[in-house]
Amino acid sequence: MASGVERRLLAQGSTGWARRAKDRFATLVIAAAFGLAMIPLISLLYEVGKRGLPGISLEFFTSDARGVVAGGGAEHAIVGTLVITGVAALISVPIGIMAAIYMTEYGTGKLRRALTFFVDVMTGIPSIVAGLFAYALFEIFFGPGIRLGVMGSLALSVLMIPIVIRSAEEVLKIVPNHLREAAYALGTPKWKTITRIVLPTAFAGLVTGVMLATARIIGETAPLLVTTGVIDSINSDPFNGRMQNLAVYAYNEYRSPGVMKQASYDRAWAAALTLIAIVMILNVLARLVYRRYRTEIS
């Protein structure tokens, strides 16, 4: 080292030490906060895994619970969950995406603001209210005590539509305006600009939003208790008769366990585990779709 060099870059005595200490302390606090946040999540997954696995068997996935005294499976509940949620998504996705298109591409002024407000309010609707709404609606036409799979789907759509609108709106908003202008400058009508330029550009984000919204409603219990009812056998027709689903199934296995209590509890936990697995699969799918179809927006 040349003797003439003034060493200014070295840590300066006690100030350097104090700064490093502060840095370490802050890092520690943040890491601890993260750890605390992870505890409930990890312990939940661990507990559901530990208690759910004993109930998982071939029988659990391949048989229903009709007429069984002990044993039986949850196939009817799995089928019901998939059908009810699928129909709910079929109702919610077109309505939600079209509403979001209205709000980002067409809506202006007061009407738009009013819609945003109501969508926000809808996001906060308690799920049992959605269930009672669907029940009250069907009761008008089919009389008291009506229970149908599609009623559950309708109740879930009431919960799902605002989530789809919100996420789709965010995604459509980040499609840059200069792409719309580029299309207009080629003499493209507005509807074609939306269907051929805006929607494809936003595709990955839209799919992700829909999948996350689906994951959000798939575990709903309360609205389904009052709309799809409880049943022990497989029913895959949403327009005919009661329909079981995993959340209500888990609830029932716990509430009225029958003679072999432990086996019922195991099945309830297995249903919970299955539900979590489905949600995880949806999440992974959402990520895969996002990676595959994401468009780089400059």
Binding site: E181, A183, A185, L186, G187, T201, F203
Partner: protein, 282 residues
Amino acid sequence: MKTTGGTPVTGTSSAGAEAAVGRGAKTIEAKEVNLYYGDFQAVENVSMKIEPNKVTALIGSSGCGKTTFLRALNRMHELTPGASVDGQISLDGEDVYGAGVDPVQVRRLVGMVFQSPNPFPTMSVYENVAAGLSLNAGRMKKAEKDAVVERSLRGANLWEEVKDRLDKPGSGLSGGQQQRLCIARAIAVEPEVLLMDEPCSALDPVATLAIEDLIRELKDRYTIAIVTHNMQQAARASDLTAFFNLEKSGRPGRLVEIGATETIFTKPAQQATEDYVSGRFG
């Protein structure tokens, strides 16, 4: 105002048939045009003629309404909420804002290239060039489309660089290539007028020169209006120059003068123009 100068153009499906053949450059003329954003007047009383087969440069400081005026020429201005137009703009004698005129049809005849390159990110190079045709011209034979794409890319001096990667995403090209891709996309629909809004502002000097060369070639087939902040660019690439200015900020921009580019840059009629082109202003 707003007298219809010719047959009103309506309908949105007729452009395809003639899109493949050149339409030829046409004159676009503004008469006493005032442009507003809500209550704010951005451009006041502009009358000028943009002549066919010539490059007309619009110069002036930021906020003086050049871009607003350019966007009014193909009815892009009205896409901004609250924007309005007063006065007359005609394309080859026909009122662009006349009753029954479809803005979509106007934009098919008056194309536009934007400040920053904006290829469609979901589309390949080929699809980007063919976008105007695929979106608006209805069905078209593959061979015919291939020919238009090649001709447009050659027209934009981009063919040699991208002919081996036509199926790659358009957004994977360099900035200068992307801008030429956007020019190819604009000329693929054979417009009569091509508007360019600072097409080189996001590009390096080499890419800028490539675009300027291209602009000089394109004027053989199109009427070209270009907004630029670059004095040398206006001097190099344009035949006519229009100087816009505003008295002070908050006031609308006005056209100070328009004339042959050489005249504007050497002996303009107005003192304000001379100050601006020589770098003394304020």
